[in-house]
Subunit: 409 residues, 2 copies
Amino acid sequence: MAELSPLAPSSFPIMPVINGLSFGTAATAMKYQGRDDLMLMLADEGSVFAGCFTTSKTASAPVHLSRHGIASGAARAVITNAGNANAFTGMRGEQAIMAYRDIFASALNIAPEGLLIASTGVIGEVLEADFILKMKDKILNQLGHSSWKEAAEAIRTTDTFAKGATTKVSVSGQTVTINGIAKGSGMIAPDMATMLAYIGTDAAISQNCLQTLLARASDKSFNAITVDSDTSTSDSVYLVATGHADITQITDPDSSEAAAFFDGLIAVMTDLAQQIVRDGEGAQKFVTIHVTGAKDAAEAKKIGLAVGNSPLVKTAIAGEDANWGRIVMAVGKSGAEADRDKLQIKIGGYLVAENGAAVEAFDERPIALHMQGPEVDIGIDIGLGSGTATIWTCDLTHGYITINGDYRS
Amino acid sequence: MAELSPLAPSSFPIMPVINGLSFGTAATAMKYQGRDDLMLMLADEGSVFAGCFTTSKTASAPVHLSRHGIASGAARAVITNAGNANAFTGMRGEQAIMAYRDIFASALNIAPEGLLIASTGVIGEVLEADFILKMKDKILNQLGHSSWKEAAEAIRTTDTFAKGATTKVSVSGQTVTINGIAKGSGMIAPDMATMLAYIGTDAAISQNCLQTLLARASDKSFNAITVDSDTSTSDSVYLVATGHADITQITDPDSSEAAAFFDGLIAVMTDLAQQIVRDGEGAQKFVTIHVTGAKDAAEAKKIGLAVGNSPLVKTAIAGEDANWGRIVMAVGKSGAEADRDKLQIKIGGYLVAENGAAVEAFDERPIALHMQGPEVDIGIDIGLGSGTATIWTCDLTHGYITINGDYRS
């Protein structure tokens, strides 16, 4: 069992109930022994689902089915297993899903395409449906009795801690609750795939509006983190709105009601995304890269990701070296517009380079102290426009190589 | 001093003289002690230069000046120093170059812009021109007396071995010689920047034609290797044709004479590029990724580079694990067109996956043996078109982290 990440939060948050949303968990023993590894999330009739999925061209069968299920408008539940991603398993992988999906959907009294599928774990091994099928009665009896925390525990693979976040926002004078859980510790761990997230709210929101808000929030949260630049074949984010809160249904993503909800949504999703980085394989430092002055927001993000994915920047941070030369190099290779002589770089808030060169005779001591801490802040001003972006990543350490390269020995 | 890479070639090749091209080397003691670190390459009047440079938006002052020098048509010589890249040094860096360029050009009796500049080493420290200036008489006296091998030794930074390659080809019945030397061991080593290459030939070729052939050959050699996906601010490849061979000047890059010359050029450049990968920081395995069946050549290269840059693929190779699931993941994230169910993956020539799933019951033993060797071959057929590409890379090991992250301790 992996040691708890040194960057883990102190505890799992206390999560309020979301009316209209229930969980059940069970232990299949498919791969893990002595722990739950199957999680069912069911939403009341009238709930609305949105989803964002991996951009991988080799996405897994569960991703294809979930995309279809959300598009159908019939989505009511998600069943998730940990230990086998059922990815790149061809026709047999899809047959395995068909062997349990319709039976569970029927037992839940929902349409077959209304049961979404998520699987995380080994790639390339066909899932044995029997492990899931034999837990049907148990997990159905458990529905409504499992907590958000138990659901978060059941979906873990190489995660060293369960991830949850919660917030309340006021929409039209009424309180709306937003909860979320997630798993993920590298973009792909040793044979363990996937970032998965489940967000639930009692807000009343139309499906189109919910999907728009989820896509916008994903762009600034789960799509703004990077552990190792690798993209899983199974990444999925689900957002369900049960509509139990006493508000008029939000239908316009640009309304003030949507903006109020979005504030809470982005807070929960950013919290979860940052927890995934804090659980990055071998991570010893949590790194925030704040890019300003780029030509536009897309260019700012491109620069932030180039810096956050650079092995040379990430190893320098592991070595506690304020190596701004490597940051300049990464800005240069990003492909975004940049002018060497307009760049300004700060580390821990201290200016280290501007106007195309190092700041003359700066005091290295406070910067060295900052680099020795567990949280490293890099500020990059491009000096060309008003585009900004924030990216979160972690350092690249011997621990990453050990987890991903030495696991056979 | 770093240990010799386990993937190093057995010896430096015997390099014939290229008529019309001479070298001088000297020791400035700017950074390294007890070794030459300054190299001057001079070509006879009538010689023609071509160059390919980093695509970095934060390219160094030497790169800007060399680009300009080649475009001017006046290029006759390159002066190179190892130990300080003079990159991201702003106005003071350019002033440092101006303090020695014109003096050397005048002593060589060539136009100032005819002296190209290359610098490799620490980023962000202003070069002290005095170190170079004081060696003027010594290096001019040495001109014509230094060998290709001595020139290759003088430009080393973190390289664990000097890199050279040579070949002869027949053009219109006459023998043409092509020699090359290079340095580079990571895209950027700890504070040591840069891949540099110098290729010389006695062929007679017009400048436009030479530039076209160099760009085509770079695309399939130096631009087809990756150690850590990072791009230096100083990468430069110089190609000089002295015209001393007894052939009619080649002016059409699509002529049969140009094709004959190109065969030799690509052989020398591929050899040098592969030596840089073999000297990759911490490299224990040399990896060839051969992509076929992509939509076109550009898509094939995109896929090959995504696989070659994937930390998860590279750590799996370090761990001697035939982890084809990670290869599928990297193909999927490349952005190139791919169909999960048409992919075919071979490792060491053995088929491991096809039609969207693992080959059933394949014999793992010969594949495990292949993974244990120092040369790993990955074959990826996309099954969509006729685009092919070959990419060379190395594994990602604890040695890379030590070199790039632990150097302060």
